[in-house]
Amino acid sequence: MGARISQKIAKTLIWTIALTVIIILMAIIVFILYNGLRVINWTFLTEIPREMGQQGGILSPIIGTLTVTVLAVVIAMPFGIGTAFYLAEYTRGGAVTRIIRFCTESLAGIPSIVYGLFGLIFFVTTLGLGWSILSGGLTVAIMILPTIIRTSEEAIRSVPNIYREVSFTLGATKWQTIRKAVTPSAVRGIANGIILSIGRCVAETAAVMLTAGTVLTMPESIFSSSRTMALHFYLLAMEGTAMDKAFGTSAVLIILIFFINVVANALVNRFVSKGH
């Protein structure tokens, strides 16, 4: 009987805790959306911020976020996917592979503020790129590299071995096999990883603060400094003078992250239902 009772107690407790946690977490999202959606309208999305963001919209932070993200993903993609192919197809272990693995896993753990410090001293100062979209994009590119490597490698490894064997049997070389037999089946999984890393770029704050700067005017080129949405939201929230704009910005961020997740999940589900 004791076992039955303790099972009852444990089950009730775990149900209560889990539901409470999920309610609290969802409440955060609902709270932000409830207060933020009222602020969002066409002018909010298409006007440049005025008076330190207290008036106007968030067009330039939107542009800042998009350009930093696109740059980071475009720069990180070849390195990330290339590394994944190397780890999944070209090596069976050995010292070099172990070192590469150690380095990618270590890169994954470095805090974004340390990436910010590095970007500041390396891209902004040493390479003379200044506080700019380019410096921010390069810094965030290194940050998202481990995510792309890990998800792409998983996608490549999940391609059934029979694909490779059949391709080799037909006389294809390794490169032909990878290009024609492996890549087409792995491409959805790889895309899923890329999209998740886009989410990380959009959410990043500390690293872009130290590398892309906080300028609110429209960037003219990738050498201009620009504030991203996450940083704009942070600065508004800390100043506390334009809470409505802060809510609006964070709601835009959450909606963006939501769509990124939906697209990533759709890719994975199609991937699974195709029989992999």
């Binding site: 076992a3 303790s6 099972q7 444990a10 089950k11 775990i14 149900w15 805790i17 889990a18 946690v21 999920i22 609290i24 977490l25 969802m26 955060i28 999202i29 932000i32 390195f79 290339g82 590394t83 192919f85 190397y86 070192i99 590469i100 150690f102 380095c103 990618t104 270590s106 753990g109 470095i110 805090p111 503020i113 340390v114 990436y115 910010g116 410090l117 590095f118 500041l120 001293i121 390396f122 040493t126 590299l145 481990p146 070389t173 390794k174 490169w175 990380r200 959009v202 959410a203 990043e204 704050t205 500390a206 603060m209 939201f233 929230a237 800390m238 964070s250 961020l253 992250i257 997740n261």
Partner: protein
């Protein structure tokens, strides 16, 4: 031509893969070169010094080390048990409909910018602490609560997976021996999934130690050593985040040196997580 392409593709992939090594090396070297002079000059006093006063050339980061440890431990005390409970719930108790709703929701929560959590903390947690427990509200406790919320998605999803991937014979065997579902979870499934759960916790802790912007908003950022969890505190990350914007000369170097200490702490956490996950497959077989 065929052979050439073969060789070239292999080389290209290897070269791309070597970039990670280069990146980690360059990051380490640049942070070290910037910060090492300050550590060299102040020596042990940099880590053990209790006064941070850049204007007077005093750079002691002990209060920040204590701050980081206190906030992270607090987050672990709140977040780890709750996270494991939620993982057990998701893996064993939740009806499948709930699971299909909660899984993407947890994934969404993991992707939300950390500043959103900080903002929520500033508007709800800080006033709540100030009204009900006293003090300013901007405190270790507020930081711990926010970080524990941020850690939860990581801990829940990885722990859940490490429970789900256990061979079904573990559970079936235990149930066949007459154990209740809860006894099976407690004495068979959780111990077997231990290494995965520990790795999840370490990853979550790493995220907590490294978090900057969200905790700046709720910690109060005082540079004194706190005497209770209701007092404001500054962590290693927030020290950099707050002051880097205007620091110059030795002050700036001292912030890079703060980055070195942070880097070392994170590397220790990373290496232990890597070590634990690597031994996972072995320990499963022995059991």
């Amino acid at each position: 031509m065929k052979n050439f392409k073969e060789k070239l593709s292999g080389r290209v992939f290897l070269t791309l893969a070597l970039f990670s090594i280069l990146a980690l090396a360059v990051i380490t070297i640049f942070i070290l070169v910037q910060g090492a002079p300050v550590i060299g000059k102040h020596g042990f006093a940099f880590i053990a010094g209790t006064s941070w006063s850049p204007g007077n050339g005093e750079f002691g980061i002990l209060p920040m080390i204590i701050g980081s440890v206190a906030v992270t431990l607090g987050a672990a005390v709140i977040g780890v048990p709750i996270g494991i409970c939620c993982a057990v719930f998701m893996a064993e108790f939740a009806p499948s409909l709930m699971r299909t709703i909660f899984r993407p929701a947890i994934q969404l929560l993991a992707g939300i910018p950390s500043v959103v959590y900080g903002f929520w903390g500033l508007l709800f947690v800080v006033p709540f602490i100030s009204n009900h427990l006293g003090g300013l509200g901007l405190s270790i406790l507020a930081g711990s609560v926010i970080l524990s919320l941020m850690m939860l998605p990581t801990i829940i999803s990885i722990s859940e997976v490490s429970i789900i991937v256990l061979p079904s014979t573990y559970k079936d065997g235990a149930l066949a021996l007459g154990m209740t579902h809860w006894q099976t979870i407690r004495s068979v499934q959780l111990p077997a999934a231990k290494s995965g759960i520990v790795a999840a916790v370490i990853l979550g802790l790493g995220r907590a130690v490294g978090e900057t912007m969200a905790v700046i908003m709720v910690l109060g950022n005082a540079t004194a050593i706190p005497s209770s969890v209701l007092e404001p505190v500054r962590t290693l990350t927030t020290n950099i985040g707050i002051e880097m914007g205007y620091a110059e000369g030795e002050h700036r170097q001292a912030l890079f040196a703060t980055g070195i200490i942070l880097f070392v702490i994170i590397m220790i956490l990373n290496i232990s997580a890597q070590y634990i996950t690597r031994n996972k497959s072995k320990s499963l077989k022995i059991k």
